[in-house]
């Protein structure tokens, strides 16, 4: 093995010229793979926006993030007649001239003449611009020190990055790494890894070296010890963890919120509805100490709680896209899935069982062809009779999940990873994400668990004997369907059955079925394959994410998806319980303990690791009981804090020192609007799709609302209902932004405006029931913002209402105003 000779230069004009705190050294004989490519990465040359683009940029093409040093070397030396690298006159090398901004460069000046980066590139040219044996430079591991540190503002910390290569050699690569601070209010870092501590809080610092990424974490405590931290009552272990961190940071928590605020908040968060005026009154006069806990329990048992989470799971599972290319999509399948989920949540099925019934779903659920056909036929009848999919929702497993587009092989592994593990693996299809740990191999190995679930993607009708038997069985069982329904069976049956195929039949079957039978990957080999602009990769191994050992499975007729389920259920699984715990937490607290909540990358550390650990362990101990999880969080003091901030926690976002105000989500807000107005969704011109019961609320039906042109659709889209596009791998598709159109909708949409003065609506009832204006005003406040008016509000309102042409108009104006007020639009 060639020993690399490093001459450490203590004093050189260039190091003096650059930052005086440079600690690592510049090799005089740099290696292309270990030094030059890292410099390209550090300077951003090979990023996706520059030369790392698939087609390159400005004529030069480098492999993305330096994934292929040999190719980079070849392009650098052989293209444009060798002008890029000039061994005889290194400073005249075009790539150096460009990087140092000596000649015009679209990407600007990336480094300075004489900087250590420049010197590495130059030294490499001087030494002959050779390509070293690349394989030896693969990194085995990277160690960043100090890995975690507690510090005070104005401290300085020198990070050091050390890598061990596969050939056993090690090197300090601090100067070759790219450093990035997660939370810039807490610290800053320079190109040499010198961290400057700025403010109190915590942050991660990502350290990147090609093919590797490491992390350091930093907690910054105030310079002076906390003296007057308020005494607050912990409700449960959640508060212990949250308060411990707040004490360390000397950030004071907000007060407990008042009863009216709590009631409105918890009713919206748990059941997606407003409390009624009567409920508010009853809650306010209740004097028992446990009234909040009792309210929580009561709300968790409401059907709307199940509806709310069925909607959330529809978002997470992205149940759309059944008939590719048709618009609008087949909404009936969505409704089936929604009703199935709602039924499970109403039963409060253990979360791991629910996931198992989704993840390992088959159409027959282990039953005979006859039994299955009977169920499918009954379900078809539901559909044709425009009833709710009650047959389907009683099924054991959710095979609709597997009937979507992109539910085979690698595509599906990505979707399973996101839905149940909170991981974003999509970048690994082409390359390793610069801020994540998954190489392509991990994705492919995981995908191999999902390679044997066939499903039809055409409606071409039966193709072989087995198919014909299925059709015959369906026809027999469905013989009392109307003729039109019967005729449709051969055409649609392909959309109906999901099954697991034996391994040895795979190749044969794929060949026979042709291209429309399976989605891409499986066609040729039956093993996970990805093809991207950066090349094709395939793997035959099965391995769980984060595991080092491969799984051996001999075979048929084992459903390999069950292995994944077993792995997920291991108590030490790093993702499965945490993913749902973190999502539920984020639902209630406005931000995840890991945030974004669906990014459980090891490089996106939790703000409160011990809290996440204890909450997840408790969830598992309580047999994956979702209601336990909801109840535990809701009963915490942390959830019940006021959104009013104090001087010390005003800027805190990460430590849950106050309640995070948020806009009501699309369905909840529009349902609340209808609830206040006292009209249902069918008001006026709106209509629900034929399969839905009339008078259904949006939360209970929005999952399948026809996505065409109607004012309800407009409203849902305006407030950010997600499309649930199968291709999007992000919870953030549900949009919580505020927009001008939302304000315009609430202020002046004709449909919304009419609801306020509807003769059968709530306002009409209030006017009829209450004669005094003060009473009317109070009732309107209770109905919209779930509290009586303050004396000041009462005064302002009275003055304004008096100016109106009639009491009725005055009350309409008040109702309109409150529906446009922040107190209505936000949960606080």
């Amino acid at each position: 093995m060639r020993r690399v000779l490093f001459v450490f230069l203590a004093v050189l004009s260039m190091t003096v010229a650059s930052n005086s705190r440079v600690r690592a050294q510049t090799p005089t004989e740099p290696l292309f793979s270990r030094h030059v490519v890292p410099v390209f990465s550090k300077l951003g040359c090979n990023s996706g926006g520059c030369h790392g683009m698939v087609q390159g940029r400005g004529g030069l093409r480098l492999s993305l993030f330096g994934a292929d040093p040999s190719l980079d070397h070849e392009r650098l030396l052989k293209e444009v007649a060798g002008r890029r690298v000039n061994v005889l006159e290194p400073d005249a090398s075009l790539f150096l001239l460009k990087a140092a901004g000596q000649v015009p460069h679209e990407g600007g000046q990336r480094t300075a003449l004489g900087s250590s980066d420049y010197q590495i590139l130059r030294n490499w040219v001087t030494a002959g611009a050779k390509l070293d044996p690349v394989a030896k430079s693969n990194v085995k591991r990277m160690v960043v020190t100090p890995a975690s540190q507690t510090a005070k503002p104005k401290d300085r910390i020198a990070l050091k990055a050390q890598v061990e290569f596969v050939d056993g050699s090690t090197e300090d690569v601090t100067n070759l790494c790219f450093f990035e601070v997660g939370n810039r209010e807490v610290a800053d870092v320079d190109v040499h890894g010198n961290v400057e501590v700025l403010g109190v809080g915590d942050t991660s610092i990502i350290v990147r070296y090609p093919g590797q990424v490491g992390m350091a974490t930093l907690v910054v405590t105030p310079a002076k010890a906390a003296a007057n931290f308020p005494v607050v009552q912990e409700h449960n272990f959640i508060d212990k963890h949250v308060l411990n961190r707040l004490k360390v940071l000397d950030v004071h928590p907000s007060e407990l919120c008042d009863d009216a605020t709590f009631l409105r908040r918890v009713t919206l968060d748990v059941s997606g509805a407003l409390p009624t005026a009567d409920e508010v009154r009853a809650f306010l006069v209740d004097t028992k100490a446990d009234k909040r806990s009792r309210k929580i329990d009561e709300l968790l048992s409401r059907p709307r709680h199940a509806a709310l989470w069925a909607t959330r799971f529809m978002d997470i599972l992205r149940v759309t896209g059944f008939t590719p290319g048709t618009f609008p999509p087949n909404t009936y399948e969505e409704y089936r899935a929604y009703e199935w989920l709602r039924s499970r949540l109403l039963e409060n099925v253990a979360y791991d069982d629910m996931v198992e019934r989704i993840l390992t779903a088959t159409s027959r659920d282990g039953r005979s062809l006859d039994e299955w056909a009977a169920e499918a036929a009954a379900d078809m009848k539901d559909e044709i009779n425009r009833q709710q999919p009650k047959t389907y929702s009683a099924r054991k497993s959710l095979d609709v999940f597997w009937k979507r587009r992109m539910t085979t092989d690698v595509d599906h592994a990505i979707r399973v990873g996101h839905a149940f593990l909170g991981l974003r693996l999509q970048c690994a299809q082409c390359h390793r994400h610069p801020n994540d740990v998954w190489p392509q191999e991990d994705l492919l190995n995981f995908a191999n668990f999902f390679m044997r679930v066939p499903h039809f993607t055409t409606m071409a009708g039966p193709r072989n004997k087995a198919d014909a038997e299925v059709v015959a069985a369906l026809k027999t069982k469905a013989k009392d369907l109307p003729a039109k329904g019967l005729q449709a069976i051969p055409k649609h049956f392909g959309d109906r059955e999901i099954f697991v195929i034996k391994n040895k039949d795979l190749a044969e079957k794929t060949k026979k079925a042709g291209s429309s039978f399976f989605s891409s990957g499986a066609k040729s080999t039956g093993f996970a394959t990805v093809t991207s602009p950066l090349g094709t990769q395939s793997s035959r191994q099965m391995r769980f994410l984060g595991d080092s050992e491969a799984v051996t499975a001999n075979d048929d007729p084992v459903d390999r998806r069950a292995f994944v389920m077993t792995w997920m259920r291991r108590p030490e699984n790093p993702f499965f319980a945490k993913a749902i715990v973190n999502r539920v937490w984020a639902h209630y607290l406005g931000r995840g303990i890991i945030d974004p909540p669906d990014d459980l990358s090891p490089l996106n550390p939790p703000s409160h690791p011990e809290l996440l650990q204890e909450l997840s362990a408790g969830f598992i101990e309580n047999k994956y009981d979702l209601r336990w999880l909801h109840r535990t969080i809701l009963n915490s003091r942390t959830y019940q804090q006021s959104s009013m901030t104090n001087a010390s926690n005003r800027h805190d976002r990460r430590n849950f020192a106050s309640f995070a105000i948020r806009r009501l989500s699309a369905e909840v807000l529009l349902d609340a609007y209808n609830q206040v107005a006292g009209v249902d969704v069918l008001f006026g011109k709106d209509r629900v799709p034929p399969a839905m019961p009339s008078g259904i609320s949006l939360l209970e039906g929005a999952s399948i609302f026809y996505r065409g042109d109607s004012s309800t659709t407009f409203a849902l889209n305006t407030f950010g209902r997600p499309e649930r596009d199968v291709e999007v791998v992000c919870d953030c598709e549900r949009d919580d932004q505020a927009t001008m159109l939302q304000a315009l909708y609430l202020a002046n949409h004709p449909q919304a405006r009419k609801k306020i003065s509807a003769s059968e609506g709530q306002l009409a009832r209030i006017l009829q029931r209450h004669a005094s204006m003060d009473q009317r005003i109070t009732e309107i406040f209770l109905a919209t913002v779930s509290r009586p008016p303050t004396p000041n509000e009462m005064k302002i309102t009275q003055t304004h209402v008096q100016k109106a042409v009639s009491p009725q108009v005055g009350c309409e104006i008040l109702l309109w105003s409150l529906l446009n007020s922040n107190d209505f639009i936000f949960n606080r």
């Binding site: 009013m644 953030c732 939302q742 002046n748 606080r828």
Partner: protein, 453 residues
């Protein structure tokens, strides 16, 4: 570490950024504004009108005529001279022939190599400047949404107004990675389709009350909000909503937007220049959209989208009363009047006008009738005018049958890049997708169309 645009945005999620939006300009983060503007050059164009000729307007029957070819190629129309030497255009575009010095014809911008090129879905690329497909690619936003994000006009005007359906035949276009925040405000000018005059268009007219009364009511909202604001520190989430509500209320309080859309306020002799009556076809309402677009530009709206169908001429058009002839006459009247009016009002220099379709038409006619041609992706035309565009020229050249580009071929991305450049928006500005992937406004590495600058 130095705070350049990219590193600043990298580690912060899209939503986190947007939530901070309240602190900046209508949900637009300060860093994004700075990054977008710092790199852009001093722009001449401040506003834009995008006229989408839905369907494929035939290049060889309009702006790239080939009179020497046999009848089945050259088609039934004859060229006439324009006032720009060397540019002959269709005899049914007489008014445009007299103002050719005000626009530039691009004959060499193509969607060749893009997903769905040569089909209606290619609108996904022509309206976004990026290789967007129905599936499998990022959901690139429309130009107008990007401009709406990076620009804002007067406080009582929306940033992006659309007339007609922005998606037309490019399904799914409304969905984009910016989310609904930068969707256009749809307004409609006397459409025949009752669905389109539905609430969406009424949303800008105070419902059931006089504007003065609306203002009073808006004050009640404000004073109630202020009451509760004293109770807790208004976070960025709330102040963001407050700003949007302010804009919405301003739009409702101010008569300007409604007046801009009240076409009957336009002097008759000016309005009539935009209108076309075709015997047996009635009045073509799309042309009034162009007039409305001009009035919206005058009122300060940064970006106006006009859907101007219908150019799907598979079935023959050259009879006097057919829809196709009406479209030709309508475009001739409306576009020429628009350019003239913008010029007279001193707005042409600061308003970029573009007109294009989603594809071209086959070199040979099919058998369905005169000028009946099918879809063709390799060649089409685009019109650019105003906003600092060097007008009165032809860019690029096609072969003898207007089938393939022979000279100065540009991709759709180049057109998009040039448009942003003219508007002073750096096309390399990075925005973040829902996957938090940084993407430049124009993702491909393409040249600007230097000829028009």
């Amino acid at each position: 570490m130095k705070l350049h645009c990219q590193s600043f945005q990298q580690n912060v999620s899209r939503r986190a950024f947007l939530k901070l939006g309240g602190a900046g300009l209508f949900g637009l983060t300060f860093a994004e504004v700075l990054c977008a503007q710092a790199n852009g050059r001093q722009p001449r164009a401040r506003q834009a009108i995008f006229i989408f000729l839905a369907g494929g307007p035939p290049q060889q029957d309009m702006f790239d005529m080939k009179p020497d070819q046999p009848l089945e190629v050259r088609g039934p129309f004859r060229p006439i001279r324009s006032n720009v030497p060397g540019l002959d255009i269709c005899e049914h575009l007489p008014r445009l022939s007299r103002c050719a010095h005000q626009y530039t014809v691009l004959r060499s911008v193509t969607s060749r190599g893009y997903p769905l090129a040569g089909d209606h879905h290619a609108g996904l690329a022509w309206k976004t400047g990026n290789p967007r497909a129905l599936r499998g690619t990022p959901k690139y936003p429309m130009y107008g949404s990007v401009v709406a994000k990076l620009r804002s006009g007067p406080s009582d005007m929306p940033n992006f107004v659309a007339m007609g359906d922005v998606a037309s035949m490019a399904q799914g276009l409304r969905e984009n990675y910016l989310g609904p925040a930068y969707d256009p405000l749809y307004v409609e000018m006397g459409s025949r389709d009752p669905r389109q005059v539905d609430p969406l268009t009424q949303i800008i007219v105070p419902q059931g009350i006089a504007p003065a009364e609306f203002s009073r009511n808006a004050e009640l909202v404000r004073s109630l909000d202020q009451q509760s604001r004293q109770l807790d520190a208004a976070g960025p989430v709330i102040s963001g909503m407050d700003q949007f509500q302010q804009q919405a209320f301003d739009i409702l309080r101010s008569p300007r937007l409604r007046e801009a859309l009240a076409l009957d306020r336009e002097p008759r002799q000016i309005r009539d220049r935009y209108l076309v009556e075709m015997q047996g076809y009635g009045r073509l309402n799309y042309t009034s959209r162009v007039l409305a677009a001009r009035r919206l530009i005058e009122a300060g709206v940064p970006y106006v989208y006009v859907d101007f169908p219908y150019w799907d001429w598979h079935g023959g058009v050259a009879e006097n009363n057919s829809a196709g002839m009406a479209s030709l006459a309508g475009l001739d009247a409306a576009l020429s009047a628009l350019l003239e009016d913008l010029h007279v009002r001193g707005l042409l220099d600061t308003t970029l006008v573009m007109a294009l379709g989603e594809m071209g038409r086959t070199p040979r006619m099919n058998r369905n009738g005169p000028a009946a041609r099918d879809h063709w992706g390799a060649c089409q035309f685009a019109i650019m005018a105003g906003g600092g565009v060097r007008a009165g020229q032809v860019v690029g050249a096609t072969d003898a049958q207007a089938a393939y580009v022979r000279d100065a071929e540009y991709k759709v991305a180049s057109l998009g890049k040039t448009m942003y450049h003219l508007l002073g928006i750096d096309p390399d500005t990075e925005l973040h997708t829902t996957d938090n992937r940084p993407l430049k406004l124009i993702t491909e590495d393409v040249p600007l169309i230097r000829e028009v600058l």
